[in-house]
Symmetry: C2
């Protein structure tokens, strides 16, 4: 019996060979194909042995003939048709992934419960009401299904599919499926993949990124949604009111903001900042400034009287970012700004 992994590698070889053929390669040695596929040469030879394809000792494998052999092995005599269940985000992505590809295996129908989707064409595939699924899958003799439904219904849907004659399921749901043993199930568990990746990222060497940059500080975040910031006060004026020094002037004609964001996590900044946000932060680092610049943040307020160094000042000046330094901490600075705006507003 040929193993699941072998089959999967076969699919990979074929794709590599096809793309190689397009670049004009006519024959290839096992070690070359191995390098492309990132496996060992012995592995390649053994795999090709399984499907009974033989190369010649001097020319290696004939690319076209080998593709044909793999195809003969992998593909059935007729096109195999696939149902996709769950036309949400993932479903769409999978459909687009297979649009116009592979004539030998094709997704021919999608199913979803959402009435807004049923009847529409998604990347060339008709989306139908999920209630029709069982009878249609049966009628169309579909033996393969892609499951892109929420985990909560995955089991139930899978059972229905099996009842309708499906033999293989590819599940993107995070739930394991309890199904008869003769049903082939391939899990694409994105969550597990990500968590594994996280685990091994941590393991694989504690070393710093290769050069560049200086470190984040502790992840203390104090976010203040300044809902009152409809005031027209200029940052220059605000600085004066809270007793902060303006280090670089920012845009000519004054700078005003609609929100204030206080925090030290560079990554949060990506989500929170905008061109209308004043950033208040403990972290006076170049990276902070770079990200701020990236997000078109018009003004930044450092706290605790920490003066930015020359490099940062230069950077801020170049970008017309207003830079101020408050003598107090984040909390007090925020508090005073809040009060100021509140008074202004009332």
């Amino acid at each position: 019996m040929v193993s699941r992994k072998t089959v999967s590698r076969m699919s990979r070889y074929r794709r590599l060979l096809q793309s190689l053929r397009e670049t004009g390669v006519e024959s290839i040695y096992s070690h070359q194909l191995a390098r492309h596929a990132v496996v060992s040469a012995a592995q390649v030879r053994r795999d090709l042995m399984v499907i009974g394809y033989s190369g010649s000792p001097n020319k290696g494998y004939d690319v076209t003939a080998c593709i044909d052999s793999i195809s003969h092995f992998l593909d059935g005599p007729v096109r195999q048709e696939v149902a996709l269940v769950g036309a949400g985000n993932l479903g769409h992505a999978v459909l687009s992934h297979f649009a116009d590809k592979s004539p030998t295996v094709a997704i021919v129908a999608a199913f979803d419960v959402d009435p807004a989707l049923t009847g529409t064409l998604i990347h060339g595939v008709r989306c139908l009401d999920a209630r029709l699924m069982e009878s249609l899958v049966r009628d169309l003799r579909l033996q393969i299904a892609v499951l892109t439904v929420p985990g909560t219904v995955a089991q139930e849907v899978a059972e229905t599919l099996v009842r309708a004659g499906v033999k293989s399921i590819i599940s993107f749901a995070p739930t394991p499926l309890a199904l008869p043993n003769d049903i082939f199930v391939e899990y694409m568990d994105i969550t597990a993949a990500l968590e594994s990746a996280a685990f091994f990222a941590r393991l694989g060497g504690r070393d710093e990124p290769p050069a560049n940059g200086d470190g984040d500080i502790e992840p203390i975040v104090r976010k203040l949604e300044s809902l009152l910031a409809r005031s027209n006060m200029k940052l220059e004026e605000l600085a004066a009111r809270i007793g902060a020094d303006v280090v670089t002037p920012g845009k000519a004609g004054g700078t005003s903001v609609a929100r204030i964001y206080a925090g030290d996590r560079v990554s949060d900044l990506l989500n929170e900042a905008s061109d209308k946000t004043l950033l208040v932060s403990n972290l006076a680092s170049v990276q902070m400034l770079r990200v701020a610049e990236l997000m078109d943040v018009p003004g930044i307020c450092f706290v605790n009287g920490i003066r930015p160094d020359e490099e940062m000042v230069q950077l801020a000046r170049d970008n017309d970012t207003l830079l101020m330094v408050s003598p107090q901490g984040v909390f007090e600075t925020c508090g005073r700004i809040y009060q100021t705006l509140d008074g202004e507003h009332a």
Copy 2:
């Protein structure tokens, strides 16, 4: 050293345990957890042994304590942040998949070359210009990346990421990545999964779907895009012109169509047919009729003088589908219809 598979199962166990806890389960035996996870009981015990968690022989494993143990093992001391590269269909899907999930590992930035995407928020994650990727990944100390870019650029992007300090990559690209050995790569190869599924579907028992329906015939498709079909001719009149018998009358008041589709593949019908399409087919089967009904096809023309059986006639009548039988084959029938319309139009 703990293996990749074990880690991935751990992630699975944790999710199962979490959902079990929500339903009020406080302790669980290895064989129960095994059944949920679709692995063997011994496997569960051995895996839990790896992380050093011990249950009690009579109560089994304490669900909460076990979750904590797994978390202690899997999660790092700080939240791990992830970059996503390629905010196309798949990228969107992955982002939505992880939106608001898992506080211990989070996608904090997305990158794409498309200027229409950069600057936008996608499922709560900021999408940025891919040119900023290297420096931002470096500055943010991201060690994990999800690759949802086309296969053609996957290698290049991966190399850049590694240069920026990334340690783990999850790749959805169909291309194997050649990277240093200490980089963890997890492939989510959808194409390979589908082709494997197709292979094993074919293998797993040649048996028919459990009851119901009768088979498709050979996949001969002749598609005729009747671009001229702007004629107002009613199907009844058309039938008369081409010498076809009308078996069931269809909607009261006559039936007209804008397109003609000829073919025998039920699955193609799903994509091609509409409520303005006349279907011409060799295949006089109940399933054909069912699908036609599903797509609101107003009229069907069988060929070669094959009369539909009583069941089909009844079905067509019930659905107000016009059913006609042409004495000739698909080719001739199509030809004559074409000619008729052409003449009509000229």
